[in-house]
Symmetry: C2
């Protein structure tokens, strides 16, 4: 079997195809990294790894061509090779089959002393090494399982939105006016204009409703906070969503449908990745449980965690609350003073917003924030002034409300947080191939 | 018919469903913008627009409820309304049917003097206005057709790669070391470290091959150049691709397959958008034509355009060459001194790289650059030194070659350039909902 877009001179098969089912195929060409070398003198066993799995190559000095034998004697760990050979079932081999080579090409002879021990279990102590040599540590099959799962989750999310009639949007990242203020931002100079990197595409996804009635995107954001919780990285993506003529009620339903769709898709198409991560998924039933902000605060106190009823959930509160659930749940009715100025108020009580957070269970905490938006021009101006922002900073944003804005609602769901929960990772940085934290800025 | 995720209190139908086929349905609820008001005294015609189309609402003073009549008298252009009513076929109406309203709700009363004339044809003179009020001008159905087409192209590209076994990658944007140098970059301070915004994900997509054997992504990039050609914006996306154990030959095939896949998908699923853009697509046949750099330079001179054989194609050369073709084509064999240090050399001639550009026809010019990469550690070190870069700046990049790198190839294809070509737009900035150019930095 040829592999699409791969040179047949360098690789026709994946390592995992060297199995007992393919016993007797007398010429396959594999390509990969040398993961293990067991040199028994006149017998050498190589373990070759490619991103789909491993295989065993067995060399008897007197049964392989002389140049093959000589080359294999020079091999170092993590060198990259193409090996041609015949597949032979062998019940003694753990993998059920081995490759008997007739040709070996060394593409890249690796230097000695590979800085990462790919065979050892990663411990907390090694975390620094894993990220310092991230371009090497991602060769670890457990790390690559996370990255494959991330790709599958992205694809499932987009598929969900497309099937439901949403259009994907691409919003700007360099902003010269405020988006919403609050969290710290990275500054830069844009051809002489002071600018920042978008901490959210909030205003732009609202604007996009003039173009499409339902929008989504998996969109990068940046926050310049020196947070050290397992929930924060400085460069991340959000699964963004905004819908014209929708309310907070529809937004909850969209999130339930999206989460169930992604989990079902992952359970179905990412079983090998989930297995490598020792993760079993359970599909939550809809509708998800709801707690109001006040109920959630009470529950936190009932769980024995200290909690100020006027403050947002701190990290210990959020973790305790999330640990008390085995399925995702919503917290609704956040107080106005804890939410962005673009959230609509409850018509019965102006101190409460029609907003909600989606929470992951098992201690993973907040996944998304969203709700009903302010769509009235005068109300929005009032809210901006109440939060002590400068109206001039919101010139174009206000203008779109001045000239006709539909009622609308939406949410932003932390993509790496979702991956962290589904893959069961200790820290959200593990959900990023090359994360950015206050301490990690390379590779 | 209910619309997914839209509140049934505000909208059950799209405007385009008010048509003669639905004659006799006695209660639908539409929601949208007031595009036109024709007030004939005791008879008012409203044109209501939503992102899927328009419909006509007809009000006779003596046949609609009093409050409906009064509200409709107060309406301003671009106000947002929900209107409930019955569908009545009417052969006199251009749209074949009209809505006879029983309820009207004004969500948002628009201010007078909307700054954009959505009905007038856009001329060169108005370009400034279009981008100054971009949050308003995107209400234009022709602009929204471009944005819908962009979403459809993105989706087709990702579908192509997923079907072919590629994994999507998410690369970092804030970089503290050089990616390749050359083009100017936006600088920022990353927690005390001098950093730049990625002008390309080149090094990271190469690194990702340790994790996945075939990768893709639609990835943002930034260039701080003050270019004023119709091909340049400062914030853009590239359809990125990299494949382990592939050569420049496979990369060309992938691009041919990708382009044909996208065009076929667009022709099939974006016919209404293409119609709004007055664009007919033709599907090119594979393989695409090839010219070497030397042949292309000769052809440019044959076309009567001045051309230095040692320099890259300037804008006039590129346009003339591209205009001479009606289908996409490749330029191959670029000289080493014109390409990045990561391109592999031709084994027969070290002055030529195994690299290629994909060119759009009809004067649209370069779409992508790609080719075979250097995968040998020593060669790469030599190439970095030859191009006068500092080896220390490439520490982690070099390290991954030191510890075993497969041969590989890949390309980056300008996403907005592709949209520009397919949608037949005068400038690449029109392919961005909120573009960034040296002059445009808001909204």
């Amino acid at each position: 079997m040829m592999i699409y877009a791969v040179s047949p001179d360098w690789r026709t098969h994946n390592c995992c195809e060297v199995n007992s089912e393919n016993d007797g195929i007398d010429e396959v060409l594999i390509g990969g990294w040398v993961q293990q070398i067991r040199d028994k003198g006149r017998l050498i066993f190589l373990t070759i790894r490619d991103p789909k799995g491993i295989c065993q190559v067995t060399l008897h000095e007197d049964r392989v061509p002389k140049d093959v034998w000589q080359k294999s004697k020079t091999l170092s760990l993590e060198s990259v090779v193409s090996i041609k050979g015949a597949i032979k079932a062998d019940p003694r081999s753990k993998l059920g089959a081995e490759l008997i080579p007739s040709m070996i090409k060394i593409h890249s002879q690796a230097a000695l002393k590979f800085p990462i021990d790919l065979t050892k279990k990663k411990t907390q102590m090694e975390i620094d090494t894993i990220f310092r040599y991230r371009e090497l540590s991602i060769r670890d099959p457990e790390i690559s399982a996370t990255m494959e799962l991330k790709s599958i989750i992205a694809s499932a999310a987009r598929e969900f939105f497309r099937k439901k009639g949403f259009f994907e949007i691409f919003t700007p990242f360099i902003l010269t006016a405020s988006t919403e203020g609050g969290a710290e931002m990275f500054s830069l100079d844009y051809f002489g204009h002071p600018a920042v990197l978008a901490q959210s595409c909030q205003f732009y996804k609202q604007a996009a409703l003039a173009c499409h009635e339902k929008v989504f995107g998996i969109i990068p954001s940046w926050r310049a906070e020196k947070s050290h919780t397992p929930k924060h990285i400085n460069e991340f993506h959000q699964i963004e969503n905004e819908i014209a003529f929708a309310t907070d009620q529809e937004i909850m339903q969209v999130q339930e449908d999206l989460i169930v769709y992604i989990l079902e898709k992952a359970a179905k198409t990412a079983s090998s990745q989930l297995e490598r991560l020792h993760r079993k998924l359970s599909i939550p039933s809809k509708p998800f449980k709801h707690l109001t902000f006040v109920e959630a605060k009470k529950k936190v106190r009932d769980l024995g965690v200290e909690s100020d009823p006027d403050e947002d959930f701190g990290s210990p509160e959020e973790t305790a609350l999330s640990e008390a659930f085995s399925d995702p749940f919503f917290i609704t009715d956040f107080p106005t003073h804890l939410r962005g100025m673009y959230y609509a108020s409850n018509p019965q009580d102006p101190n409460i917003t029609r907003s909600l957070d989606l929470m992951a269970p098992e201690g993973f905490g907040e996944l998304s924030s969203g709700g009903q938006r302010v769509s009235d021009f005068k109300t929005l101006k009032k809210r901006i002034k109440q939060q002590d922002f400068d109206l001039d900073e919101f010139e174009w944003y206000l203008r779109m409300f001045k000239y006709g804005m539909p009622p609308h609602a939406g949410f932003g769901l932390g993509f790496e947080r979702l991956v962290r929960w589904i893959a069961n990772l200790p820290h959200v940085r593990e959900a990023s191939m090359f994360p950015r934290t206050p301490e990690i800025y390379q590779p």
